[in-house]
Structures are given as structure tokens and as C-alpha cells.
């Protein structure tokens, strides 16, 4: 264990802590190298801002409460272009407001992390109660064909790990990354063992020759090196479709070229970005696909079902987007029924159905009343599926 060179943090107090998901997210952000937070208060995410307003100035970072959600997203993008690893946190209504600038970050390829602690919607909805109803907004909330990465932890320790991973993926692929917590994960207190060692990615910088710099250059990796403002490259950044030079273009060939690369940049690395955890029973005819806090209920339900003698497999999705199509297809080839519990009306179940491609029947277990999905609900669905109903 050691302290980061540019911090004055005291010796680590020990890696065992009792903390909430929001606390874990804030601390992990600092560990990952985040040195800029721009946000706007919104329940149930506000603790992330409150904690970072205390911590960031003490590690040489910057915290700013902006005048609104849109401005917060703009400031985060500006800070990232100036070289900082940058974060914002919000919830449903604020996530809606941020969408235009999230699209900008996709288009201009600006790494940043957006945390959405999901609450019930639509509109002002259920500010203090959990939901998972923003998974489609995370994918398609901003207009236009764009790639996106969205991660979804099941608990506090996983929130810590996936926050670090969000920054790493953002810097690796020069893209915004969305971290979807839900109100349960954000506010639940859990005893956690924080890691002694983490991997931290630093973005690819261009070479020393500033005259040759193409900010959106074609490279073997499809991820162009990124300079920061002030380093001498004097490049142009725009939300308009641009060519390799960064300047707007109306040339159909160039438009096609850059938009294809933009989407390919994430698609081709999907296997590396997607992370799932499978607890497989080779005899299972019933499978469960779950994510976020619901995956905890679902895991418990699977345990109860096995105790009753029903063989079941469960696939927990830690990456939601790009969608884990292959693992679900494999599951559909082995089982006859897939149960998908969600705190929404089946947003991801439709994706599971599409991936299963008719090989397995998909059963939705949904709850939208602001209450968590109890293991019993999932267990009932597993039993019904096992009986062939």
C-alpha cells in the first residue's frame, strides 16, 4: 500500500471498511486518478458530490458544483480536454439533461465517467426509491448512432472496482463511460475489503511532433492519440462530423469513414469490455440473467431453487453495454427457459430475447413500485419455468 505521489493522503487506515456504494464510488474515483468533478445535486447521487467536495481539494483536484446538469456535463468535457480525468454523478432526470453533451463526448471522443444512481421514473418519479429504468437511456439516450459503454455493479465492493474500471475504459477507448448504480447500491452499507493494488490506465498521448498531429487520426487500434489543450498541438474539437483533422466535413466518404470508425472503436473490443459472471449448473434447464442489486436477489433465489432440487444457472451482467450477446446466446443453447428480473418493465429482457433468438423462452419478472425485487419473486418464476409453465 502506498500513497499517490500528488496527494498528501495519510497512510491508508486499513482496507476493511463499512461504506455505501456512493462512498465507494467517490473513493475509487480518486484512487483511479480522477482529479475533476463537475456536478449538480440530485437524489440519490448527491453523496458522491459531497464526498468529493471534501476529498478532491486535498489531493490537488478540483470540485465544482455547476449551475445545472447540462453545465456540469459541459465542464467535465472541458476539463478532460484540458487533461484531467473527469467525473460527474447524477440520477434519472439529470441523466436526461446530460444526454446532449454525452453525445458530444462520444462524437468528439472525450474520455469521462458519468455515474447514474438510478431512481424510479419517468420524470421526477421516485427520487428516493430504486429502479433500473435507465438502462435503455444509457444506451440510446443521446441522438444519433454512437457507441457506449455502461457498467452495472451488484454491491459496494463491486462499485469500487467498476468505478476504477470505468475510468480505465474511458481512457483506453477515448470515450464516455456510464456507471449505472441503483438507489439500493448507492445507499446500502456493506462491509468491504478494499483492494491493496489497482491497475490505472493513462490515455495515449501523441508524439512530440506537434505539427503532424491529427486529433482523429486513423490508427491500427481505431483509438486516436489525444493531446491536451495547452501542450502545443492547437487542435480543433467540434460536435460536427469531422475528418481526421478535427474540422467539419460534408464529404459523404469522410462522414461514413469517421462514423464507422467511431462505432467500430467499441464494437471490435466488445469481448474485452464485456464482463459477466456465470454460476452454471450443467443440468440446468432454467437460467437467470440479472444485473445490479437485482442480481443479488436473483443469486439468493437460485440458491433456494437448488436447495429445492431445481438445477439453475445464473448469469450476472457487470457490463450492460456493449450487450453481452454471446454469453446469453450460449446460455440459451443450454437451457429452455431464461428468467430476467428487473426493476423496470423489461428493458433488458427484450435484449435477452433478441440474443436468445428463440432458443429459449424468456420470462420477465418486473417491479416498478419502488420496492426491490425479493428473491421470492425470482424463485416463483424459476419454479414456474421448471414446471414448464
Amino acid at each position: 500500500m502506498s500513497t499517490v505521489s500528488n496527494t498528501n493522503a495519510g497512510p491508508a487506515k486499513g482496507a476493511v471498511r463499512v461504506m455505501t456504494g456512493n462512498e465507494a464510488c467517490a473513493e475509487a474515483a480518486i484512487a483511479a486518478g480522477c482529479r475533476f468533478y463537475g456536478g449538480y445535486p440530485i437524489t440519490p447521487s448527491s453523496e458522491i458530490a459531497e464526498i468529493l467536495s471534501k476529498l478532491l481539494p486535498r489531493v490537488g483536484g478540483k470540485f465544482i458544483q455547476m449551475e445545472d446538469e447540462i453545465g456540469a456535463m459541459g465542464a467535465v468535457i472541458g476539463a478532460s480536454l484540458a487533461g484531467a480525468k473527469a467525473l460527474t454523478a447524477t440520477s434519472g432526470p439529470g441523466f436526461s439533461l446530460k444526454q446532449e453533451n454525452i453525445g458530444y463526448a462520444c462524437m468528439a471522443e472525450v474520455p469521462c465517467v458519468i455515474v447514474n444512481v438510478m431512481r424510479g421514473g419517468p420524470s421526477t418519479g421516485l427520487p428516493t426509491l430504486p429502479s433500473q429504468s435507465d438502462v435503455m437511456q444509457a444506451r440510446w439516450g443521446t441522438h444519433g448512432d454512437h457507441p457506449i459503454i455502461a457498467l452495472c455493479p451488484r454491491g459496494v465492493r463491486e462499485t469500487y472496482d467498476l468505478t476504477v474500471r470505468s475510468f480505465n475504459l474511458a481512457e483506453t477507448y477515448r470515450t464516455p463511460v456510464i456507471l449505472l448504480l441503483d438507489e439500493i447500491i448507492g445507499h446500502v452499507n456493506e462491509k468491504v475489503f478494499l483492494p491493496d493494488r489497482i491497475r490505472v490506465v493513462e490515455r495515449v498521448k501523441p508524439g512530440a511532433d506537434v505539427t503532424e498531429y491529427l486529433p482523429y487520426q486513423d490508427t491500427d487500434t481505431d483509438v486516436p492519440p489525444m493531446a491536451s489543450f495547452g501542450e502545443g498541438h492547437r487542435f480543433h474539437v467540434t460536435g460536427l462530423v469531422h475528418d481526421e483533422t478535427g474540422f467539419p466535413t460534408n464529404n459523404p466518404e469522410k462522414i461514413e469513414h469517421v462514423l464507422r470508425r467511431l462505432n467500430r472503436k467499441i464494437d471490435r473490443y466488445a469481448d474485452r469490455i464485456i464482463r459477466v459472471e456465470e454460476d452454471r449448473d450443467e443440468n440446468a434447464r432454467v437460467g437467470v440473467v440479472a444485473y445490479g442489486s437485482t442480481a443479488r436477489s436473483a443469486s439468493y433465489a437460485v440458491r433456494l431453487a437448488r436447495e429445492e432440487g431445481i438445477p439453475v444457472s445464473i448469469l450476472s451482467l457487470l457490463t450492460i453495454w456493449p450487450f453481452p450477446e454471446e454469453p446469453i446466446r450460449e446460455m440459451a443453447n443450454r437451457v429452455s427457459d431464461i428468467v430476467v428480473p428487473e426493476m423496470n418493465l423489461g428493458q433488458l429482457a427484450h435484449e435477452v430475447e433478441w440474443a436468445a433468438c428463440g432458443k429459449a423462452r424468456v420470462h420477465k419478472v418486473n417491479r416498478i413500485d419502488g420496492e426491490p425485487i425479493h428473491p421470492q419473486y425470482v424463485l416463483d418464476a424459476i419454479r414456474a419455468a421448471a414446471r414448464g409453465k
Binding site: 495519510g10 475533476f36 486535498r58 447540462i70 468535457i77 489497482i198 489543450f229
Partner: protein, 294 residues
Amino acid sequence: MIDFEKYLRIKKFPLIWCAGCGNGIVLKGMLGAIDRIGLDKNKITVVSGIGCSSRATGYVDFNTLHTTHGRAIAFATGVKFANPDLTVLVVTGDGDATAIGGNHFIHAARRNIDITVILYNNWIYGMTGGQVSPTTPHGMRATTAPFGNPEGSFDISRLAIAAGASFVARGSVTSPVKLSQYIEKGIRKKGFALIEAFTPCPTAFGRQNKMGKALDNLEWIKERTIDVKKADALSPEELEDKLVTGILVDVEKSEYTDLYAKLVESVRDIPVDLHIPEREVVPASIAVAGGEEL
């Protein structure tokens, strides 16, 4: 004699601005101010929003950021706060800064962050084809005010003053030397500075309001503007429909990034209750190549 080409991306010419547009004069004023101050091109970031004026960022050879509609000042706040060593200028318009972006405008002034906003006020939405803006005078026509603007208009400079800007000046392309001097003073000011620049739009504003040729549009501005020193001697009735130009506010006050730096200094010795794991730094090039499991 200033070598303006030194600051321009000549390869991107011709400009998209129409014949008779005043935007080029404001832009030239900005480049002249930068030259006189002697700023390093690498240390300047110019941020713009959406609209005719905001296309200026494409033509100037600095770090340039063409953002979403209304959000230039928010993006600029992030750039300046993350790296206070940069000189940050914002090029925006009346619609961009005071309609869709009004909130960022007043709050950046309140925060007094060291950003210089050069606001091209042409009383109309030019790029989208001449719709009514927050500064279109009452009664004047626009494509979305075909019977005359039923609304009142903003006094943008007074708005910035009320919000807390430390430097506010209003100029016009009809007095380009003064306008450039105001921009210079605004950039030199440590704090939020607004330079509101009146500029004609014969294509979208002048034509709909039967204001004659491009030169007549300039005359229209000249007739309406009055220097602050002369205005002081006039009654409110005499100043009705007049636009007062000159340096309207120039005060010394604490600037935001300075205040935050002091805050950082003052909390430096407070112990942090924070677990910092050992960090293995992986270059993104290796991560992309799949060399490391992330």
C-alpha cells in the same frame, strides 16, 4: 502592423459569414488584442457554442473548442478550472449566450471565473435563418415574429453587471479600434469579462426589417449607440432606444480559480481519511492491445 495570418487557419478560408456581416471585424479585434498582449498561441483556448459567431473557432490557430448550443461557457469553465494557466476566451452570440445558454452566462459572471466572453450581438438568429432572439428589439421583425417582436429584449451588459462580472464593456464594429481595446482590457482582467459587440446581420436581420444595404445596417447601429461619457449627461427619456457603449464596469474582485487555489492550500494539512491502493499504471496503448486485463 499586426501579422493577422499568424493567428489564422488560412486553409479554412473563405469564412462562412455573409457579405456585409460584421463578425470578421469583431474577430480581427480579438486577434489584435491577443497580439498586443503578446500571448503564447499554445496557451490560448477559444471556446464557442452554436451559431454564426461560434464558427469563429474554426478559423483561429489556437486550441479551439466548438461545443453544443449555449454551453460554451460551461465547457470553458471546465477548461479554465482544470488548467488555470490557459487564457480562456469564449466566442458566442446573443441567442447562444442569453437564450439557451443564459444560465451558464449569469453563473460564470457570479463565480467571477477568469474567462473573457466576446459576445457578438446581431439581434437575430442568423445561422438558422433569422428567428427572433432575446435581443431583437420590441416590434422588429423576425421569421418567427412576422408581425413584429411582441416581447421585450435583454440588456446583456447590464445582466452581466448585475450577475457580478468584474469587467463589462460594450462596443460596436462601427468603432473597431475601441472594440479591440475593450477586448484587450477584458483579456487582461483577472476575472469574468464580457465584451458585448454590436455587429450587423444584413442578410437575416436587415433584410426582414427593410434596413437597406449593408452600409445602412452599420448606420443603423451608429445612430442607436452613444458613448457612456456622453450618455451620462442625458436624461433617461433621451436615452430611450439608445445603446450605451464604452467600459461599463471595471472592478477588482477575487477570482474563482485563485480562490480555489487558496482553498486547496488551506486544507493541505488536514489528514485525509482515504484508502489509496498501490497503483500500477498501464499505458492505454497496452490496454487497447489487450495486454492487460482491465
